[in-house]
Symmetry: C2
Subunit: 275 residues, 2 copies
């Protein structure tokens, strides 16, 4: 047993998705596409007498993280530092679950494979209702297209072969659990249409186009997001809404040219890794 | 059409493998495991009146690269810089094929997905007989385990959740095409045994152990490799042979502690990417 281990997990903004619930959490998940981000979450795990989770210095309950620890049958202190806000559409809970799985496997010498660890973290997110597709996207990196839902044994992934500078502004949170527990039929129909567009033309331009159309059709735009998207469009920029957060992301300099003061990062070429 | 595009593809040393020929090149391939390396190949593609391939300043014929260009229906100048020797078990031909596919897609705006580009490069390698599993491993990054052979539509990948400093020394080349076109039954049986070991315990230690056993059982050790492996074992280090090259790779400081002057790199966390 080593003393501690640290994993980095990229953030992930989903541009569009369709929800695919299933009683087996390894088959439940979402189809869709998103950007993994160089801004992400660093998770350090140390053995402890009792499990605790700390995010940016404050104790916090994050159900998927607790589920990962209990699945791996350990008591540990999980200390996370996030460059991204929690609950605002950046996949922070998924990143914490996946980072905890990777670092715990290392510290406690659990000898599991990447797919097994991703499956544990994905299942924990699905059970908690905090996400459906972030974990598998964050394990892959790049600009993942989620063609089939679920954990690695069942899902199918592809990617857009590109990279981009990414800007974002966040006006606050939306509850993923609330949206996902509500009526998702309309959302899922819109998500399937968006996915067809991106499969037909897997480019960044079509990704942003499909994402914007999805946000409109699924009726998820908040007033702040709507106003910001209009401002970016007015200067000819490309932006859409991070699902699910009161957050706008733009490619290139869309937000700064529209007069916002965005955070700036890039797409992340690698999936989650141990430091 | 942009003027040029550059892709970086990590090197890949295979520790062990089993060959799985198939008339459909998207189903042909290998099972096995290896390390992707921070040392790799940078490939730049520019439109040209006639296709040419240049590796480290010298014109060269590399069949898989030519196949990728003709599959994508372009004439281009492909200029590659490799930190690794060609034909010595580092997946340089696979890297050139995959890097050419990624950069060509970008320059000529072909709008293909990552999986489609990997499939084209994998198929080109398989047809040329220059490799069976490098391309899919290099597209993934990390420490890939190839559970099922073939291109993305058919294969199944997992990974060892770890990273390592890697040392290597190369005494020259072995012809992949010669070995693969010979009797591969014994080799494949040894490869399947090695894969079982690593699937049961997906750690770096078991990977090197399984690789060494494979090299011995498949009767592929060259005199220089055999001597070097003994020298590394004598100082308690972990090393094996790169398949297929007259090359030894070691984890950590195995080779330098044994008195060699190895090249030093690390495992690469990301798969092939555009610069």
């Amino acid at each position: 047993m080593t003393e501690e281990a640290t994993a980095f997990v990229p953030g992930h903004v989903t541009g569009f998705f369709s929800a695919h619930p299933h009683e087996d959490p390894t088959r439940a998940g979402s189809r869709g596409a998103g950007l993994t981000l160089t801004d992400g979450v660093e998770v350090t795990v140390r053995p402890a007498a009792e499990s605790t989770v700390v995010l940016d210095g404050e104790g916090i309950d994050i159900e998927p993280v607790e589920t990962v620890l209990s699945t791996l049958a350990v008591d540990a202190r999980v200390e996370a530092h996030s460059e991204l806000p929690l609950g605002a559409g950046f996949g922070v809970s998924g990143a914490m679950a996946l980072g905890t799985a990777l670092a715990t496997n290392r510290v406690f010498d659990r000898k599991l494979s990447v797919n097994e660890l991703v499956t544990i973290a994905h299942g924990a997110e699905v059970r908690a209702g905090t996400g459906l597709g972030d974990v598998v996207a964050q394990a892959r990196g790049g600009i993942p297209i989620r063609l089939e839902p679920g954990a690695p044994a069942h899902n199918e992934l592809d990617g857009i072969p590109s990279r981009a500078r990414v800007e974002y502004v966040s006006f606050g949170g939306l509850s993923t659990a609330d949206v996902l527990s509500g009526e998702t039929e309309r959302l899922t129909a819109a998500g399937e249409r968006a996915l067809s567009l991106v499969v037909e033309e897997p480019t960044l331009a079509s990704f942003v186009h499909a994402s914007r159309r999805f946000a409109r059709e699924a009726d998820l735009l908040t007033p702040a997001v709507r106003e910001t998207l209009e401002a970016v469009a007015d200067v000819g920029g490309h932006a859409s809404m991070a699902m699910l957060g009161d957050t706008v992301f733009a490619l290139g300099t869309g937000l700064s040219e529209a007069g916002y003061e965005p955070a700036v990062c890039g797409t992340h070429s690698a999936g989650a890794t141990l430091r």
